[in-house]
């Protein structure tokens, strides 16, 4: 039987005001100031049967004041702590904890009915927006501004005519995103902690859970799609702002229609993948969800170089570290490829498995032939999903 594209049918139903039972929620930044407050609320929502919690960090002592945790949680992974907590609240829930940056998690693992972002940086919100749009999943973004005692929540429904996060961004917003310079001695430092009080995080989390409930129950008119609610806790005021689709938005607003493949990354090679296009193989270009393939790394400290053949976001620590000076090696633009054709591959490279390039089950690859581009999800071999009362912990880091 020919596999069908995995468009999110529930989204279509919800758009027509039909309720969505047995929902799957994906929480990004599940253990932080907002996430640690939001996760237990989401676990108590009716009609939820699956929660995926993603967070790459571990709890530290300084988190005790700003996040909903106990002293015994210090030193443990945030996603796992929250998964265990959710399991105690609602043992019927299927809970998956993922200890990794969500940008690095295979796309299919993050396909739910609603994505809830509890993130702390502009860049990670930009990535969450792109992720939700590609998957065609509604997402709810929550945020706080502790210095002004502000809590806010935005709803986005991926569609060509709907505003996305970047529709409201100008040149200055993009300029403020962290940029990687080759002269930076270390990786771009993560954003400074917001040090937001737990009560403000709880306020944003409550707003987020309410909006999630409305979205899932199909209350389209009452939901916040394309709008923002901001509560000014200092002045006891609240504001609702509507956003419009910006025709000059720098994000393409494209949803990917993804076809699942049975074959796994261990079974497929770049050459065989290009052959999936049939007659037009010579013209076809293979891409890896926007992540470039690195062929050579160079050390900006001592100038040494190393040949690799791996996706940039999946380079291993030992590959990135310079043997001579220990500095992080980088890939220059002319040593990477965002799209590879048959002509870019030597015979050895064409026959290497996609797994050796760093691809995992659930990752999305695309094949472009002229103006047409098709998206494929790499198979897992064995079913990824299994129902269990115990949380499933996945660790990629």
């Amino acid at each position: 039987m020919k596999p069908k594209p995995t468009t999110n049918s529930r989204r279509g139903l919800r758009a027509r005001g039909v309720s969505c039972a047995g929902a799957h929620l994906v929480v990004l930044g599940a253990g932080g100031n907002i996430g640690s407050q939001s996760t237990p609320l989401l676990a108590r929502l009716p009609g939820i049967n699956r929660l995926t919690l993603v967070d790459c960090d571990r709890y530290e002592e300084k988190n005790l004041l700003s996040q909903a945790i106990n002293r015994s949680d210090i030193g443990h992974s945030k996603a796992r702590v929250q998964a265990r907590r959710v399991g105690r609240i609602n043992p019927r829930l299927e809970v998956v904890s993922i200890v990794d940056r969500f940008e690095n998690v295979p796309l299919s693992s993050l396909r739910g009915d609603v994505i809830l972002a509890c993130l702390d940086s502009r860049e990670s919100r930009r990535c969450a927006n792109e992720l939700a749009w590609r998957l065609g999943v509604p997402w709810i973004d929550a945020g706080v501004e502790p210095s002004l005692m502000l809590a806010r929540v935005n709803d986005y429904l991926p569609a060509e005519d709907q505003p996305c996060l970047e529709c409201a961004w100008g040149e200055r917003d993009y300029a403020e995103l962290p940029a990687r310079h080759p002269c930076d001695a270390e990786t771009v430092s993560p954003t400074a902690p917001t040090n937001a009080p737990a009560c403000l995080g709880a306020l944003a989390a409550a707003l987020q859970a309410i909006e999630c409930q409305k979205l899932l129950s199909g209350e389209r008119a009452a939901s916040l799609i394309g709008r923002q609610v901001l509560i000014d806790a200092a002045a006891h005021q609240h504001f609702v702002t509507s956003f419009r689709r910006n025709p000059k938005c720098r994000f393409d607003h494209r949803a990917w229609h993804i076809t699942p493949l049975r074959r796994t990354p261990q079974e497929l090679a770049p050459g065989a993948t290009l052959a999936l296009t049939g007659r037009s193989e010579a013209r076809a270009a293979l891409a890896f969800g926007g992540v470039p393939l690195v062929k050579r790394l160079d050390c900006p400290g001592c100038g040494r170089s190393r040949r690799v053949f791996r996706l940039q976001s999946r380079l291993r620590k030992e590959e990135l570290s310079c043997d001579h000076c220990g500095r992080e090696m980088l890939a220059a633009g002319f040593h990477t490829k965002s799209r590879i054709t048959r002509a870019d591959l030597d015979p050895g490279e064409a026959n290497r498995t996609l797994a050796s390039l760093g691809l995992r089950a659930g990752d999305v690859i695309s094949l472009r032939d002229g103006a047409h581009e098709k998206f494929f999800e790499l198979g897992a071999g064995s079913p990824l999903r299994r129902r269990t009362a115990k949380p499933i912990h996945r660790r990629y880091l």
Partner: protein
């Protein structure tokens, strides 16, 4: 190409970049095939306007600087500078605080134009612009530049874009025959 905004950006860069190269005595710009409109360029800067370290360790002038410029598909929305600029030679040991092959460190924001990038590269290569602190890519060159007289820089004062002048030359009376 399905991203209309990115495609329009690339078309604009091709037009503006080639216009600048056509009006320059020191720049030759080559768009690379692979996508339409092109997203990769090779910029050749020429003239005695850069410094390199010779095999004996001396700092000498050098007349060529080639840099590769890439606009990744998400270039309008995020910037990874090593991905945008690549030093392509031809000298293996360029002498500049902001250059260590294959990296060139310049200030680039998401959506910075090709012309702005070409100017940034030209200013770096001609020592109009250089990092004097220890944040540079080549610390020895930073240290060296701090010890130099400021009046030595830039090495070459010719502009990247040829200045057009409206000149009307009239021969003095009686000189027409010459």
């Amino acid at each position: 190409m399905s991203d209309k905004i990115y495609e329009a950006f690339l078309r604009q860069q091709l037009e503006a970049g080639m216009a600048l190269a056509n009006n320059s005595d020191v720049l030759a710009l080559t768009p690379l095939p692979g996508s339409e409109p092109p997203s990769r360029y090779i910029a050749h800067f020429s003239g005695r306007n850069g410094l390199v370290r010779d095999p004996r360790g001396g700092i000498v002038e050098f007349d060529k600087f080639v840099v590769g410029i890439c606009f990744p598909e998400d270039y309008l929305r995020r910037v990874n500078i090593p991905q945008v600029l690549t030093y392509l030679g031809p000298h293996p040991d360029p002498w500049h605080p902001n250059i260590r092959p294959p990296f060139v460190c310049a200030h680039i924001e998401p959506g910075s134009s090709l012309v702005d990038i070409l100017y940034a590269c030209f200013e770096i290569w001609t020592w109009n612009l250089f990092a004097t602190g220890d944040e540079g890519l080549n610390h020895a060159a930073s240290q060296w530049s701090r010890k130099q007289e400021r009046s030595r820089f830039p090495v070459d004062r010719r502009p990247l874009k040829r200045r057009s002048m409206q000149l009307e030359v009239t021969a003095p009376p009686g000189k027409e025959a010459e």
